[in-house]
Symmetry: C2
């Protein structure tokens, strides 16, 4: 026979909201990660969060030090068949082409307009930078944001025929919410453009603009035609928030070392190293794309989101690796976002 101390039960009940747990209809604490199957990844996350939030425990981390950083492409939303921001740039080239008749005969623009991936690839990094400059510069920051917002509202992903902002990972949305309920401040630390991501990060991920760290171009203060100040985007790269740039970006924008870091590719290797090299409890996690049916399967040889060295180091250093196919019940949210 089990004896129940009713007063202790009531006290435990009363404490539940303070512990950041939702309460399910049956009286037990709700699963904070319902789209995650039980398994080592989910267990590692939940046990870590419980350890760092248990006051008096050896692994307790005070709320103001609870910093969690997330890569974006391939970690919070999909990145195939091409980075979504690159899809935006290609669509912008097509939209701007009537104002640039010279693009019909100039690479890399000709390749974009003719849909010639081989010629586009042949233009290399220089071609890529030209496309970025033509679509991300020569306008004010406000004009750029409006262009991104328009594109997100109308463009659809070629495979799933859904807006790109619906191709975010439902299990990661739950993880973001769970961490925030547990007192974490959640940041994006991505190789993607900071001004691109800020347009949707708050609405889609609940991450405000000031918690988005990304790559950026030079911006200059000018006086607009109405005499008011404007910020003009120039076609010059200022900061690449990828690979060794991620710890630098974390230091520059956040100013303290994360307790948890989440990535999916070799571009996240140094962020994970930097995070887990800190003293005290640290969690590094890699999303491994293993589900060709519901999403994509790729790692060591992929042209985007290549995961090779970081996969080896995850193994060597005990980082958590999410097996998308087995660990995630659902991939994308059902309801429109």
């Amino acid at each position: 026979m089990i004896r129940i101390d009713r007063r202790a039960l009531l006290a435990a009940w009363a404490a539940l909201p303070l512990m950041g747990c939702a309460v399910a209809g049956d009286g037990g604490p709700a699963d904070p990660l319902p789209s995650w199957n039980g398994g080592p990844a989910k267990t590692a996350i939940v046990e870590f969060v419980e350890a760092v939030t248990t006051e008096g425990g050896v692994n307790y981390v005070p709320p103001d030090a609870r910093i969690a950083t997330f890569d974006n492409d391939g970690t919070l939303w999909a990145e195939q068949p091409i980075y979504f921001q690159f899809a935006f740039a290609l669509d912008r080239i097509k939209a701007l082409a009537p104002q640039h008749p010279e693009w019909q005969d100039t690479q890399p623009f000709k390749a974009v307009l003719e849909g010639d991936p081989k010629a586009l690839a042949a233009s290399g990094e220089e071609g890529l930078l030209e496309i970025i400059a033509a679509t991300h510069a020569g306008m004010t920051t406000d004009e750029f944001s409006a262009t991104v917002a328009d594109w997100l509202a109308t463009a659809r992903h070629p495979r799933f025929d859904r807006p790109y902002t619906e191709l975010v990972y439902q299990p990661m949305l739950e993880l973001l919410a769970y961490l925030r309920e547990s007192g974490f401040k959640t940041f994006i630390v991505s190789g993607g453009g900071v001004e691109f991501m800020r347009v949707f990060a708050e609405r889609v991920y609940g991450i405000p603009p000031e918690q988005v760290v990304g790559s950026s171009g030079v911006v200059r203060l000018e006086t607009g035609p109405d005499g008011r100040p404007v910020l003009m985007k120039e076609g010059k790269v200022e900061f690449v928030d990828d690979g060794p740039g991620k710890p630098v970006g974390i230091n520059r924008f956040i100013g303290r070392r994360p307790v948890m870091a989440f990535g999916n590719s070799d571009g996240d290797l140094q962020m994970l190293q930097w995070t887990t090299a800190g003293d005290g409890p640290r969690l590094g996690l890699i999303v491994h794309h293993t589900d060709a049916e519901r999403e994509w399967a790729y790692d060591r040889d992929s042209h985007v989101g290549k995961l090779d060295q970081a996969l080896d180091q995850a193994d060597a250093d005990g980082w958590t690796v999410v097996d998308m196919k087995n660990d995630w019940k659902t991939i994308f949210p059902a309801a429109p976002r």
Copy 2:
């Protein structure tokens, strides 16, 4: 005779904490700015905050858009007789001199070691950059933070014989707290070094590292002697968060336009222009140093914190100007911080 509806009174009482008001012993709402004398500056602040936080009002600003930016030197803490960070650099030169015998005969170091302000001034901006490089680079970010913390714990201001972190403005501390209680996110946007300010901003101002925007030097990821990654500070300027750099820094680090901005010098002019040029309610405020007795009196001809063009524009554009002598009951906090 005044009739009092007791139920309405009770309801008003119950709502008070939700409105971010402390409750004083006599039953009325406590003054959120007790160190401010009544007058146009205090009235402008309180009326603005009430307007933007009144739901349903024409000037209502939702909480996630309530961004307030503060300059640091001369706005949150004093900046005379020299910028406090420069005092730190001079003290570091003296502390490091035994390891640099060559400094005895090399300017600008010789001038620092001999206490020769004329020779120091003659070394110009190049000399200043050499002093900054010698004291702010060639070490890891963690080592630098430890050096700053040590200095703040021991150094004392020449005039007031108090630690520098006690020379913060009590009325501004109250203003920071009042804004945060009113749902504002408070940021520092300063020409000072970001890694210098982050050491004390949370303890002294309640502003966490990720809400401090400042000037910075280049930082590079390296592998430390124990095989762990470290961030090395290099002697190269990366970003100057002053003058036209302030709107650029706000865009880069915060990603949205402030609703309120606070400064004290021409270095804050563009931040105030950028802030007040936004649509909807905006408040620009300048702290005018008018109190030679309790602090300092300086403006158009000062070698630090020169306030000339911004004072003219404050007048033209209706920015609030704080007259330190008349608007502030106390300048510095009484209790050690």
